[in-house]
Symmetry: C3
Subunit: 168 residues, 3 copies
């Protein structure tokens, strides 16, 4: 006899565990910073708009004192922080039906033009955890001369939440 409703557990949360990834803590109020008049995420209907997420311990400029690979790693860290923000806000990664739009700002040295390869660190992680159908999304990657706290990258996301209003 097979179970009537065996849990498949093919969820982003399960995939995160299978990948052995740990989500870093992301305090709303980082130590040493003044209180900021913002919130991590705002929900409107089934859309969720996230504040820009930044790797607060890292500083640098990609193409100057950071390589593309180091920028990619920083973007992956921002991806893990964004996943933490999702869990903190909604309890489970599975609350996000899919990523809709990502904007990546890369602090760039003069002439540096590989912003997409840097932001891929974020996008690749999201796809590892959510799969192609839910993780691949619209994106804009641009260079920025300066970013807050001299961070090398900042990424903001708009995601679709599962519609739980219909019951079922």
């Amino acid at each position: 006899m097979t179970p009537a409703a065996a849990p498949t557990d093919d969820t982003p949360d399960a995939r995160l565990r299978a990948l052995g990834l740990e989500l870093p803590a992301v305090p709303d109020q980082p130590p040493g910073y003044a209180p900021r008049p913002i919130v991590p995420v705002v929900v409107h209907g089934t859309l969720a708009f996230f504040s820009g997420v930044a790797p607060l311990e890292l500083t640098g400029t990609v193409g100057a004192d950071m390589t593309v690979d180091e920028g990619y790693a920083a973007a992956r860290t921002v991806g893990l922080m964004t996943l933490r923000r999702i869990v903190d806000a909604f309890g489970t990664l599975d609350a996000v039906e899919r990523f809709i739009k990502v904007t990546g700002y890369v602090r760039s040295a003069p002439g540096f033009s590989s912003q997409p390869e840097v932001v891929n660190g974020f996008s690749d992680l999201i796809i590892e955890v959510y799969g192609e159908d839910r993780g691949r999304c619209a994106r804009t990657a641009i260079g920025s001369s300066e970013l807050p706290r001299n961070i090398p990258i900042e990424v903001e996301s708009v995601v679709a939440l599962r519609d739980t209003r219909a019951g079922g």
Copy 2:
């Protein structure tokens, strides 16, 4: 005898008056500029997307010829201009249920990294007028090497409108 339905008047409009704040005029077509093929705001359902708002009389670069405090003041001016845009479009500040997402672009000198402190001038004003629950929102603050007309800051907003379709 007390009124059956005394108006509480705890609206953003009333708070604006109580704060003694005046909203500047914000012409769609500033004097001396060519007509622009854009509109101040577009509504879709209960979402309203605003064009970037800029302090057209001001020029400067924060961290070079403007201090953080001067940038904060410029951001506050942009906040007042955004409130005027709301009144012009919807008749009352109370038409906005809450701010959802703000993006602040700060024209930044090389090495300047306090963009959040500058954009706080916008966010703090919105919270003064709308209160914490309606005014605190998701935000991204980034640096920009150049902005139109050499303005020091430009802020765009996405807001939720009250749903008036349900009657009541």
Copy 3:
């Protein structure tokens, strides 16, 4: 006898033909580039969010080795590419009810401040094809020190799709 339901053909598709405009091919995967973990557009309800569109053959910095007119022409090319993206995604330009929000990033030389005049190349084209009511939208135009592949401009769009769920 007049036709009972003569097609007016006052559609964006017909206007595009009347203007004699050709839409360029826009490969998801440009030749010579590594596969990117993104998609051109994501639909959520009647909103469609596009990835940033860039003129992949062009490089330059407006205000340095490109004039405003050349930047305007590049922005118009990005507009044509965006129209192609719409046709590729939805079969017809008429699937888009209206443009909601456009963000234009212009790679800018130090001191260059005419980003709006550059992005007008995009906006003017959209209005030629969609008309004022559907083409004029909210917009933010900003300068960027560096963009991917040294392109001079990148434009992202949020549009409203016709609601076809209601039948009719």
